[in-house]
């Protein structure tokens, strides 16, 4: 009897499972990668749209008031009113983590209004505070709406940000509005899709493996029968019956084997008669 490890059934089942695993892994890898890319692109489009709408809403008198704020004005009525305005816009969009305005001096950026200023749990920036992690997209935001290419990490966390220019009443650009979306939200969406694909692949592998196991079992069963008959004949037991009925290659093998066994019986009968 062939050992379980060496049996054709084990080899067939394992080969198919390995094949399915390779195909599934490649499918998972490419699908998940494309899904991640797609989700990021959707988020980027959403950020551009949000920053443009909010910039439109704040452009004009609000933008002028923000640009006029100076360091130390944090307790002024104007600052409190503008911070409240930004806070109410932020709170009306659950996807927004931070909302703030900035102005530019050369290549350096300074905060104008950060509604989280004074928040002890998650402190925001004060008026005129320098932002050190300036990137190309932020500077582009002073000309047209733009968005980060990748998640960026600073002291406020890992974020994807969109920017749009803020204009005063005369249409001059006085700053940018920054809209931050937390990576947690996007990663949670990516993980959900990843897990769904993963579960589907696991179920498919289990179904395919069960099917292959049953299928290979029927093949092996008939091969074992043929093996047992050959074994009987080789030990001189000619009283065997060929009960393998298949229409495939194993059936053909059984038929050939049956002919061979019949001939052997005839020759043995012939020899016995001659001996007598």
């Amino acid at each position: 009897m062939t050992k379980m490890l060496n049996s054709l059934q084990t080899k067939l089942t394992v080969s198919f499972i390995v094949l399915i695993l390779v195909v599934s892994s490649l499918t998972y890898f490419f699908t998940f990668r494309e899904t991640k890319k797609g989700l990021k692109e959707i988020t980027q489009t959403e950020l551009i749209a949000l920053s443009s709408v909010i910039a439109n809403e704040l452009s004009g008198i609000h933008a002028e008031e923000m640009a006029a704020l100076k360091s130390g004005d944090e307790s002024s009525e104007k600052f409190i009113a503008l911070a409240g305005k930004l806070k109410s816009i932020r709170d009306s969009h659950s996807d927004i983590k931070y909302l703030y305005t900035m102005r530019k001096e050369g290549e350096r950026l300074f905060f104008m209004v950060d509604p989280d200023y004074g928040n002890t749990e998650d402190p925001g920036a004060s008026i005129g505070e320098n932002y050190e992690e300036v990137n190309e997209q932020m500077l582009t935001g002073f000309e047209k709406p733009s968005v980060d290419n990748e998640f960026t990490t600073d002291k406020w966390g890992t974020l994807l940000s969109g920017y749009a220019p803020l204009r005063d009443t005369k249409g001059n650009i006085v700053g940018i509005i920054g809209v931050d979306m937390s990576s947690d939200l996007v990663i949670a969406k990516q993980n959900f899709i990843g897990k769904t694909i993963y579960v589907i692949i696991i179920i498919s592998i289990l179904l395919a493996a069960s099917f292959i196991f049953v299928f290979s079992k029927t093949i092996i069963r008939d091969i074992r029968k043929l093996n047992s008959i050959a074994n009987d004949i080789s030990m001189g037991n000619m009283a065997v019956s060929m009960d393998v009925e298949r229409k495939d290659e194993i059936g053909e093998l059984a038929e050939s084997f049956g002919r061979m066994a019949a001939s052997l019986k005839i020759m043995m009968m012939n020899d016995n008669t001659s001996d007598k």
């Binding site: 049956g258 002919r259 061979m260 019949a262 001939s263 019986k265 005839i266 012939n270």
Partner: protein
């Protein structure tokens, strides 16, 4: 070997393999009054097939029925009891 003997041999080989000739020669010789298998005629066929059926049953069990059926079809012989 006559054309008829050859045709019977080819049809039988499918079931009994390379020893078919020995088998057929024995059936003709032992059951048909020493008839040489190579000399069989059309009129010998029903009796020869009867003995082929009976003897092959001991070798290939129920497949002997299929062998008989196939011989009857090939040689246009009415079903024997």
């Amino acid at each position: 070997m006559s054309e008829l003997s050859d045709k019977v041999l080819i049809s039988t080989k499918r079931y009994l393999g390379p020893a078919s000739q020995t088998f057929l020669e024995r059936q003709a010789k032992n059951h048909m009054r020493g008839l040489n298998f190579n000399d069989i005629k059309e009129e010998h066929l029903p009796e020869l097939f009867k003995w082929i059926h009976l003897s092959s049953k001991l070798i290939i069990d129920e497949k002997a029925d299929t062998l008989l059926k196939s011989l009857e079809v090939i040689f246009h012989i009415k079903k024997m009891d």
